[in-house]
């Protein structure tokens, strides 16, 4: 009980729990699940944009996109590192991603059909991620909060490069503007789903709020994202594909239409447009990299033996 009191006192003082502190098992399990899921999302998130690396229209865009995809790999690594402080092993987490035992964000199960998709991902998907992630910089678990601070610093580049690319399309040909609008049509609703199920249906929310892992409800964050995105859409001259989207002066916020939660459930269960492809690709990269890991291990062993013999 004394340990529980100490844990509660740290939370009440808004201080951070650190790796070797005592913590309730459920707090630990919740964090492992959330951080792993977050790490997996960063790793799988490299694929939709990675698909355009060889097709970027200029060297400048290619260099930018490469840097962004590398950042997402880095985000995954920061987060696996944070998860490991909770006593799990990184390769076990990867196994759980590959077998489907642990999930990643549904957003990455949608295809990138056109070049405009890459810009729209930067604008909407990284934009939604930022809204989700900024409060996590104050998460009660120290290593997770510190990883999020690093990540948030880098995300701002992601969103800005995306928006800049979309401005070029806006100022381009009719065909480019149509491509931009089409990408917005396809990514808008999946982006809203990134905030998770509505508050009434969110299984883990209340405990996470009490533990200060989460600071705001899913619906609050979703509303924040809609309100900040609407004026940005005006700048781009695109229409957000929602007939119910309008300003509500009473609430001082935008009203918006009903999200298709059945589609969300389908994609979570594995039945999205790209679920199979994403996991196959990830598993293949892991399996095909096996010989590299073995060679590096063998080399390290040889070097160590040489030093030992000298």
């Amino acid at each position: 009980m004394e340990q529980q009191e100490q844990f509660d006192a740290v939370l009440a003082a808004d201080e951070r729990i650190e790796p070797r502190d005592w913590m309730p098992e459920k707090y630990r399990a919740t964090l492992i699940r959330q951080i792993a899921q977050h790490a997996h999302s960063e790793i799988i998130g490299m694929q939709p944009e990675g698909a355009w690396l060889t097709k970027a229209p200029s060297l400048r865009r290619k260099a930018i996109l490469l840097a962004k995809v590398q950042d997402e790999a880095g985000h995954g690594m920061y987060l696996y590192s944070a998860a490991e402080t909770l006593g799990v092993d990184r390769s076990d987490l990867l196994d759980r991603l590959h077998t489907g035992a642990q999930k990643y964000s549904t957003i990455f199960n949608y295809p990138t059909l056109e070049w405009a998709d890459v810009g729209v991902i930067g604008w909407l998907v990284d934009g939604a991620a930022i809204v989700n992630q900024v409060p996590l910089c104050r998460c009660s678990y120290g290593p997770y909060a510190r990883a999020m601070i690093r990540i948030c610093k880098e995300e701002s580049f992601h969103q800005r490069q995306g928006f800049e690319m979309l401005l070029a399309l806006r100022d381009g040909t009719d065909g480019q503007r149509a491509m931009l609008q089409d990408a917005v049509n396809r990514w808008w609703w999946p982006s809203l789903m990134m905030f998770g199920p509505p508050d009434g249906a969110s299984a883990n929310s209340s405990a996470s709020m009490a533990w200060k892992i989460k600071r705001h409800s899913n619906d609050d964050l979703r509303q924040r994202f809609v309100d900040m995105t609407v004026p940005q859409a005006d700048v781009l001259g695109v229409r957000l594909p929602d007939n119910d989207l309008r300003w509500n002066a009473e609430r001082n916020s935008h009203d918006f239409g009903e999200i298709d939660w059945e589609e969300f459930a389908r994609v979570v269960k594995g039945d999205g447009p790209c679920n199979t492809e994403r996991i196959e690709r990830r598993t293949a990269a892991h399996t095909e990299g096996e010989w590299v890991r073995e060679a590096a291990t063998a080399y390290a062993r040889k070097q160590a033996a040489k030093v030992g013999a000298a």
């Binding site: 502190d21 840097a67 690594m77 490991e84 990184r90 510190r146 890991r293 080399y299 390290a300």
Partner: protein, 93 residues
């Protein structure tokens, strides 16, 4: 189990500052750990020097004994300058 050991990474942000812990990574040996740490933690020139330390080599104080372990410093208020009352003319000391 991960086949590669875990390394803790420390980065000196710029000359004049100490190395600070930034995270960890897995690598087969110290040299690869350094290279990976450069790619992972200094993609935007966040450092001018990196240390990598095998995670198992770190000896840490235990949070459970936090009170008793740091106790000896608790009752020595006279180690702080604010303990001493001086007249206003010399109170900048």
């Amino acid at each position: 189990m991960s086949e590669w050991p875990l390394w803790e990474v420390f980065v000196r942000p710029r000359r004049g500052l100490g190395h600070a812990h930034v995270g960890s990574l897995h690598a087969p040996d110290a040299e690869m750990a350094l290279r990976n740490a450069r790619d992972l933690y200094t993609r935007r020139q966040e450092g001018v020097s990196i240390w990598v330390v095998p995670a198992g080599s770190i000896t840490a104080s235990s949070p459970e004994e936090k009170d008793s372990f740091f106790d000896p410093a608790g009752d020595k208020v006279y180690r702080h300058p604010t303990f001493y009352t001086l007249p206003p003319e010399v109170d900048h000391l």
